[in-house]
Symmetry: C2
Subunit: 349 residues, 2 copies
C-alpha cells in the first residue's frame, strides 16, 4: 500500500482520466483548459494532496529561478541590510537566492561558484572582492556586482564621489576652517575610493586647508587607538579652529564622537563630524551622527532588476556573448544630525 511516496502528475492524470500533459497545462497555462476541467483537476489535487516538485520541473524546463549571491559577511550592517533587501525582491521577481559567505579567499570563492553553477543558477550577484571581474566575466553568465571592482562586469554602485562632495560641502557651509578625512587605505579600482577623491577635489577647489588620514583599522581596539592618535594630531594641528571631520564609516565616526564626549562631557562646538552609511551606529550614537546614507534598498532592487534583465536577454540569445557591462550609480543621501546641526538649546536642558 505505502509504496508511492509522492503524488505525481501521473497519479492526478489517472485519477482524473486526463493525461500528464493536461495536468502540466493546468499549472502552466490553465486557460487552455475548460473551466470545468480546471475544476476537476483542482479538486483532484486537493483530494490526493498533491505537492509540487520544482526539481523535476527544473530538469525538464531548464529554469531554476535560482540566483547565486556571494557576500563577505552578515556582521556588518551594510551587508546584512543589503541581503535583506535582495531576499525581499522574491515578492517581485520570484527568484530564490542561494547565498554563500566569502571571507575573502579566492579559491574558496571559486568553489562556491562551481557549486552555484552545479545548481544551475540563472545569474549571480556578487559583493565580495576576492575574484577579479575579468575572471567572473569569463563565466559567461549574467552577473551584477555591488560596490566592488567591476571593470568587466555590470554593477550597481553608490556614487561615492558625490557622497563625499555632499559631506565635505556640508562641513564647508558650516564654516569649518580645517577639514579632515579619515579612511582605510583604499584601492583606486574600488568604488569607495570615490570618497577620498571627492573629499580631496572639493577641498582643492575651495582651497580649504585639509588633511587625509589613511590607516588600516581592522578591529575595534585598533580603531580606537588609531582614532585617539588621530584626534590628538588634529587637536595639536588646529587648536581653536573650527574642525570638520569626514569619516568614511559610521562605526569610526561613532568612536570619534564617544572619545570627544568622554573627554569633554559633551560634544565640543568646534568639532563637526560626518560619517558614511547611515548605519545604526550613527542613529544610536549619543549624539546622532550626520552621515551619507547609501540607498541600500535602491542598490539592491536595481541590482536584482538589472540581473533579471540580463537573464532574460541571456535566454533569448544563448550564443551571443553576454552584452556589454552596464554600470549604474545611485546617488547617496545626506542626513543631517546633531554632529553638524548643533541645537544650542538642546545642550542646556
Amino acid at each position: 500500500m505505502a509504496r508511492k511516496q509522492n503524488v505525481t502528475f501521473a497519479d492526478i492524470a489517472k485519477y482524473t482520466n486526463f493525461s500528464k500533459t493536461t495536468i502540466s497545462r493546468y499549472f502552466n497555462n490553465p486557460d487552455s483548459l475548460t473551466e470545468k476541467n480546471q475544476k476537476i483537476i483542482a479538486d483532484a489535487l486537493e483530494k490526493l494532496n498533491y505537492q509540487e516538485n520544482k526539481v523535476a520541473r527544473i530538469l525538464a524546463s531548464g529554469q531554476t529561478e535560482f540566483v547565486g549571491v556571494i557576500i563577505p559577511n552578515l556582521f556588518l550592517h551594510y551587508y546584512s541590510e543589503m541581503l535583506d533587501r535582495i531576499l525581499s525582491t522574491y515578492e517581485t521577481f520570484g527568484y530564490k537566492f542561494l547565498v554563500f559567505l566569502s571571507n575573502g579567499d579566492a579559491d574558496t570563492e571559486r568553489q562556491y561558484i562551481q557549486e552555484l553553477l552545479a545548481y544551475k543558477i540563472e545569474g549571480l550577484i556578487i559583493l565580495s572582492h576576492a575574484i577579479p571581474s575579468m575572471e567572473l566575466a569569463n563565466l559567461h553568465i549574467p552577473i551584477v556586482a555591488i560596490e566592488r571592482e567591476d571593470a568587466h562586469i555590470s554593477s550597481i554602485n553608490t556614487d561615492n564621489y558625490m557622497g563625499a562632495i555632499q559631506a565635505t560641502s556640508l562641513l564647508y557651509r558650516h564654516n569649518c576652517e580645517v577639514l579632515f578625512h579619515i579612511n582605510n587605505p583604499t584601492a583606486k579600482s574600488i568604488p569607495a575610493y570615490g570618497r577620498i577623491e571627492g573629499f580631496e577635489d572639493f577641498c582643492r577647489e575651495q582651497q580649504i586647508p585639509h588633511r587625509i588620514f589613511l590607516h588600516e583599522m581592522k578591529d575595534q581596539t585598533a580603531s580606537q587607538e588609531h582614532l585617539k592618535e588621530i584626534l590628538s594630531e588634529i587637536e595639536a594641528d588646529s587648536p581653536g579652529r573650527k574642525k570638520g571631520i569626514f569619516v568614511s564609516n559610521d562605526t569610526h565616526a561613532s568612536i570619534l564622537v564617544n572619545l570627544l564626549v568622554r573627554k569633554y562631557g559633551k560634544l565640543p562646538e568646534d568639532y563637526l563630524i560626518v560619517g558614511f552609511d547611515d548605519s545604526p551606529a550613527s542613529r544610536n550614537a549619543i549624539f546622532p551622527i550626520s552621515t551619507v546614507a547609501q540607498q541600500i534598498d535602491v542598490l539592491a532592487t536595481e541590482a536584482v532588476k538589472l540581473l533579471v534583465e540580463q537573464i532574460e536577454e541571456h535566454k533569448n540569445s544563448k550564443h551571443t556573448p553576454v552584452s556589454e557591462p552596464v554600470h549604474k550609480m545611485i546617488t547617496p543621501v545626506l542626513i543631517r544630525r546633531e554632529t553638524t546641526e548643533r541645537d544650542p538649546l538642546a545642550e542646556n536642558d
Copy 2:
C-alpha cells in the same frame, strides 16, 4: 554543430568508451574504479569541460541538500549574525540554505513553506513566530526552531532564565538597593519570557525591592520617549539609592545610557545597567554596556547539527512518525563592561 548546450555523462561516456554508470561512479564512489580509469575520466572531464548538474542528481537520488530557513529579518543584528553562522555551517555539513524573510504574516509564511517543500528541502530552520509549532509539526519534516514557541517541534534556545539570573545577581552583588527590569510585553510561551521570570524570581528570593516595566516599544522614537518616562519614574521612585537596571536588549540599554550621559555629562555612579544580546550597540556605546551574551555561534551550530541528525533519522525511517521533539538550552555568558564595573580612575582622565 552547436546543438548540445551541456556536456553530460553521456558525452563523457562516449568519449572514454565507458558507460554512464561508470562516469557516475567516478563521482560517487571513485575507489570502485582503477586508478588508471579514474585518470582517463578525469582527463576527459577536463577536455570536454564538464560541469556538474546537481539538479539532475537530485531528481534521481532524492537528496537535495537543501535546508530552508525562515527568519524575521536581517536588520536586527541578532538575526543577521544568526544567519551568518547558519550559512557558515556549509563548510561542515554541505547543506545549502534557501532563505526566506518573514515579516510576521502567517499566510505569506505558509506560502514560503510551500515553495520550500516544492524545492524538496530536507529540513527547516525556523526563527519566525507567525505559525504555531503545532502546524509546523504536521508538515512531518525535520524542523528545528530557534528562540520561538516550540511546544511541538525541536528547538535550540538560550537559557533566558539563567541569563536573567546572571544579570540580576550581578546588580545585586554590586549592592544595588532597588532593581528594575525593562522589557516588552512577552508571551509566556516564548523563550524570552524567561528574562522576566528570572528577574522576578531572583528579586523575590533575595527580597530586594524591584519593579518591572513592560511597554511595547516598536520604533526608535517611541522607545526613546518611553525610556525617558521610565527614567523619571525611576528617579522619582528612588532618589539617592543605588539603582540596578536590567534591560531586555542592548538597543534600549544604549538609549538609556545615552539619556543619562546627556543629562549628567557622565554616567552617574548610582546607576548600574545590564543589557541583553552583546550586540554592537552594547560594545560601541559611549560607556560600553554590560550585557548577557547569547552564544549565537553555538545556537546556530547546534541547530544545524540537530537538524542534520533528524534528517539522517528521517531517511532511515520514512514511515515512522518524526521522533519526539528535542529541546536544547544554551547558557548565555555574562559580559561585564563599564555600566557595572565603573573604574573610578577612568572618569578622571
